[in-house]
Chain length 222, copies 2
Amino acid sequence: MKRNTRVSTAVIRRLPRYYRQLSELQESGVVRISSNALGKSMGLTASQIRQDLFCFGGFGQQGYGYKVDSLKEEIGDILGINQGHTIVVLGTGNLGRAIIENFKFSSNGFQLLAAFDVNERVVGTRIAGVPVYHADSLEAFLGENQVSVGLLTVPIAAAQEMGDRLVAAGVRGIWNFTNYEISCVRDDVVVESVHFSDSLLALSYMITQREDREEEKKGEPQ
Amino acid sequence: MKRNTRVSTAVIRRLPRYYRQLSELQESGVVRISSNALGKSMGLTASQIRQDLFCFGGFGQQGYGYKVDSLKEEIGDILGINQGHTIVVLGTGNLGRAIIENFKFSSNGFQLLAAFDVNERVVGTRIAGVPVYHADSLEAFLGENQVSVGLLTVPIAAAQEMGDRLVAAGVRGIWNFTNYEISCVRDDVVVESVHFSDSLLALSYMITQREDREEEKKGEPQ
DNA sequence: TAGATTGTTAATCGATTAACAATC
DNA sequence: TAGATTGTTAATCGATTAACAATC
């Protein structure tokens, strides 16, 4: 069954949403769901869901639908949740600290191994149990530990340099929280950015549009 | 010239990136740029850039290209940066605090007015100069102040309820940082979510794929 | 069995790319 | 003027939706 002929980014971006929705359904005790019902709950068409899943093989049962448990597990597998991925955090400022303390790395299949900083006041301490080392020892640490991803929350001025060092030391991916577009020539390394600013500006655009449209409407009658 | 016949989300998502890139170019002292050069620097085609800008009108000059300054300003206007948008933060846990202290709201055209929490230890204090009020006074505050957007960093269990209260009190948008899909029936209110988890899982998928492909390659020769 | 719902192919729609006349 | 580069329309490509036979 397995197809997997170059899955589009659109599909990849929906997979985590499926996973999240299925987790919620599972918690609510739902055992089976049809593509139709799942689509309605997520604002997608049944057709699209079946087409998406078709990229990876047949997980459903004709006349019955999908078993929530097993579909969730299948998608988790596809996402690589059981690959034993590991991660380190670069930068323990406000945001780095917040992520270390709050984000559920393990629910997403990642083990958080360590954090790095240059501030002597935090180096040597632990944040939520995670040891903080000096940035100078990054390469040594990556040499001794298999690390899949480096999370960047360093100041923007240090972003590209730290990204380069991570790549040179062999990580497979960079999770970039700085407002800088990390460039990476190596095509075996993936950069995934979370740009708060882009998100807020898109929201700003959308609310501005709605307001304009309402202004127009107000003007129309009479 | 102005066209603006229903701009696609794909275009909307690229606008902030243009804005960011143009800001960087401006800082580096670049005065003019062609769609070709801009495209190369962003990994887009010249055609796409011209097509995107065509949605809003003609900002360039034939035979010359685009003036970095004025194009940046035009895109800023389109994004609503000069609309005097305002924002409040709900939840001053680690993440809320980190965003209040670090995020440059004003660079994105937003004025951060206040934060809300239920924890008596923070209510009444200020974070980076921003007053923290009790969540009970949310409606009173929104009644007195025109607030465009509510930023949600509350615990997941409180997310939907606080979202509903924001909408009922008249915000135009919700910037959702909880790992919960806020639902909102009102079509004049926009929900924009930043799901860290979705982002990491997409990254997880991509690095897992690359690793698989390399495994295959290793097997091939011989 | 009849009804429901999938897997899968075909049709449609929308977004990206190509092309080129207009013009700075 | 000649060269460059846009604005804009047309062609292509890819993603979504529709359709339906297969089958639980």
